[in-house]
């Protein structure tokens, strides 16, 4: 089996993380920000799994990635519920226009 060096996985993970960060900064839509956050979580999982290749007996990295997936699923459900509440109250999903606490 040909070995791809671990640095290449790390570079791909770093690129996806930075693209996700740029998405989360630039999008003017709450769900667009959520897309960027999901991409960042996935990029972190690539790093964990790349290092887990060198630990085939107790694959700690893969187990950690599994828990990251669980937390991401929980996070996206709660975030979408909050976004729906914000949209019902303010009638907008632009995070810059949601600038007051109570009407």
């Amino acid at each position: 089996m040909i070995n791809i060096p671990v640095e290449h996985y790390l570079i791909v993970g770093a690129a996806l993380f930075c693209i996700g960060l740029a998405i989360a900064i630039t999008k003017q839509h709450l769900i667009g920000i959520l897309l960027g956050i999901e991409l960042m979580l996935n990029a972190v999982n690539i790093n964990l799994i790349a290092f887990s290749r060198h630990d085939p007996e107790k694959i700690g990295g893969q187990l950690f990635a599994l828990f990251v997936i669980v937390v991401a699923a929980a996070e996206v459900t709660v975030a979408l519920a909050i976004i729906l509440r914000v949209y019902g109250h303010f009638r907008t999903v632009d995070p810059d226009k949601v600038n007051e606490l109570k009407k």
Binding site: V12, I25, L35, E38, I49, L84
Partner: protein, 175 residues
């Protein structure tokens, strides 16, 4: 063969991620995220994590992405003037392009510098010929039992909290 597959799928993931970054239409961005998740799942397979790849496809593509597309459609203003012959578009405006580019590119250069100078010295054989399914099952039920149970409680709390938050408590306030 494997090397070509690795670089092909990493290129696919990165290009579709860049498409999310530059796309104005949020629906297209969500579908590009689908392609990115599939590319990342292929990278998991190439790294020997078969169970994680299947979990990634089932949880992200089957669950999270469908939820996000539902969210996009539920938070859209209906445009009365729009004719039904035009394609559906959810236009999202971008702001702070300068800071986004600066932070993203700066962090990428920083991380690349760290990775290039880290000089990882790996020990242990990379034996990826057998399935990781048995190992994951045994580890989850023995040494990782407490995080496993905490994850179960967390999912239950997220379910209850999301149902409570999304509940329409006062329908009369919605003009």
């Amino acid at each position: 063969m494997e090397i070509a597959a690795f670089y092909g799928f990493s290129g696919l993931a990165i290009i579709s991620a860049l498409f999310i970054l530059f796309s104005r239409n949020l629906i297209y961005a969500a579908f590009a995220l689908f392609v990115t998740f599939l590319g990342v799942a292929a990278l998991y397979v190439l790294a020997g994590a078969d169970f994680l790849a299947v979990t990634q496809i089932m949880v992200y593509v089957g669950g999270i992405l469908v939820l996000l597309i539902f969210g996009i459609m539920l938070t859209q203003k209906t445009d009365r003037e729009a004719v039904s012959s035009t394609p559906n578009q959810v236009i999202v405006f971008v702001k702070r392009q300068f800071w986004g580019f600066l932070v993203g590119a700066g962090l990428f250069v920083f991380l690349s510098y760290i990775i290039a100078t880290a000089n990882f010295r790996m020990t242990g054989a990379t034996n990826m010929s057998r399935s990781t399914l048995k190992t994951i099952g045994v580890e989850l039920m023995t040494s990782h039992l407490l995080p496993f149970e905490i994850a179960a409680i967390l999912l239950l709390m997220a379910l209850v909290g999301a149902a409570y938050l999304a509940l329409n408590r006062n329908p009369a306030s919605h003009d």
